[in-house]
Symmetry: D2
Subunit: 131 residues, 4 copies
């Protein structure tokens, strides 16, 4: 989970959050969410396990504006051998303004996909949202 | 179409282009593509017709690195009354490294969806990729 | 004041925070600092008072890396009729890693410089750092 | 030298280019300028010579807006043993809208300042702007 105000840097001349910047909010949300369940991505990197984004689906429902306050939540919706899928929602007051799904692949330091290490994977499975 | 080198600003500490930055390449590509078929988005704005992104699907196939040279092409794949869909591909040498689809909705200055103006829409239809 | 972790989005392929991204940290810091002394920039905008950055001086002392945790503080160091100057410092543990000074000018909705409104200006003066 | 249109991604809700984004234009300008005088930064990296930004001075003279077309030029104004200084100007039509000075330090792969290699340095000196 990650909460932030909308600053000028997030917006564009249309007066709303620029579409690419939502992906930055979601990175912060999943980073903090994974920390909260005991998965520190920088620590895993120091052990040779990296993650990269493979696929993204983004749905912009309501625009967000300068000064708005938004909360982003992330859920684990799928865990496979070498990748996992997260869904994210950006909520203003009680309205979901944006939804996103990201497929995240585990790679080694040469960029090759690899099996998610057991401790990492078990934590994902343990906190995965029940379908 | 839009070609660019990959600069530090496009990359992250993983040594590759940061996933959100692809969406910036695609904005430049569709802006320039629309100009090339006679649709200037800033001119349409001055006439009260704006566009916003509604949905994005992004597929990251191969990473791009600092110093790479990439060409992005955009195609019109669907034209409806109030929205149109573009597909984009980022190509390095002859390899497609990234694909993206963006649904773009036409709005008025209050943010309400509206019919794409005839001249704008006709140009889209005329250049739409045949299925 | 604003604290943040360093995420991938903040870094570049050199493994450190990309230089332009410091200016984004400083915007968040001054926005939150001004809120804390009773100056809401979005509220002032709704009353027709805008601010723009006129000059920036940035000194990068120590690099910051993915996963670092940094705190940014802002101080008011000068208040004039139509502009004010803030200084910012990004601190990791007890080390100042970056310093910045920003001259911020008050403008009307047409972009013309204007006198800082009294309530806005008095709050700045009241909290200005004594030389 | 680097020319670009101003896209939504460059702007903020104030309707003008966001101040940090100028630094991205300047990176592109110096990268391309250095290429034009035979200095490829990615190639020097592969040989163990990196550069980082140490100091930036930015002067925002006139705002730039969505759809504007801007040309950025870079000049070498100082060359020392371990660093060099570039000045940059962003010009719209014939008006200089932004000026910037960047001090760039040569480092090794561990981030330690080092002497600029002879071939790199000689090219800088040869193209330095005469005071």
């Amino acid at each position: 989970m990650y909460s932030t105000r909308i600053y000028y840097q997030d917006t564009d001349a249309g007066g709303v959050v620029y579409y690419a910047n939502y992906l930055k909010f979601f990175e912060k949300s999943w980073f903090e969410y994974l920390i909260s369940i005991g998965i520190s991505l920088p620590e895993w990197e120091s052990l040779g396990t990296y993650v990269i984004i493979k696929q993204v689906y983004l749905d912009l429902i309501e625009p967000l504006r300068y000064g708005d306050y938004v909360t982003i939540t992330s859920d684990i919706i799928e865990v496979k051998r070498a990748y996992f899928v997260l869904s994210h929602a950006a909520t203003k007051d009680t309205t979901v303004t944006t939804r996103c799904t990201t497929q995240i692949v585990c790679i080694d330091k040469n960029g090759k996909p690899k099996r998610i290490p057991d401790d990492f994977r078990n934590r994902l499975i343990q906190h995965a949202k029940k379908g």
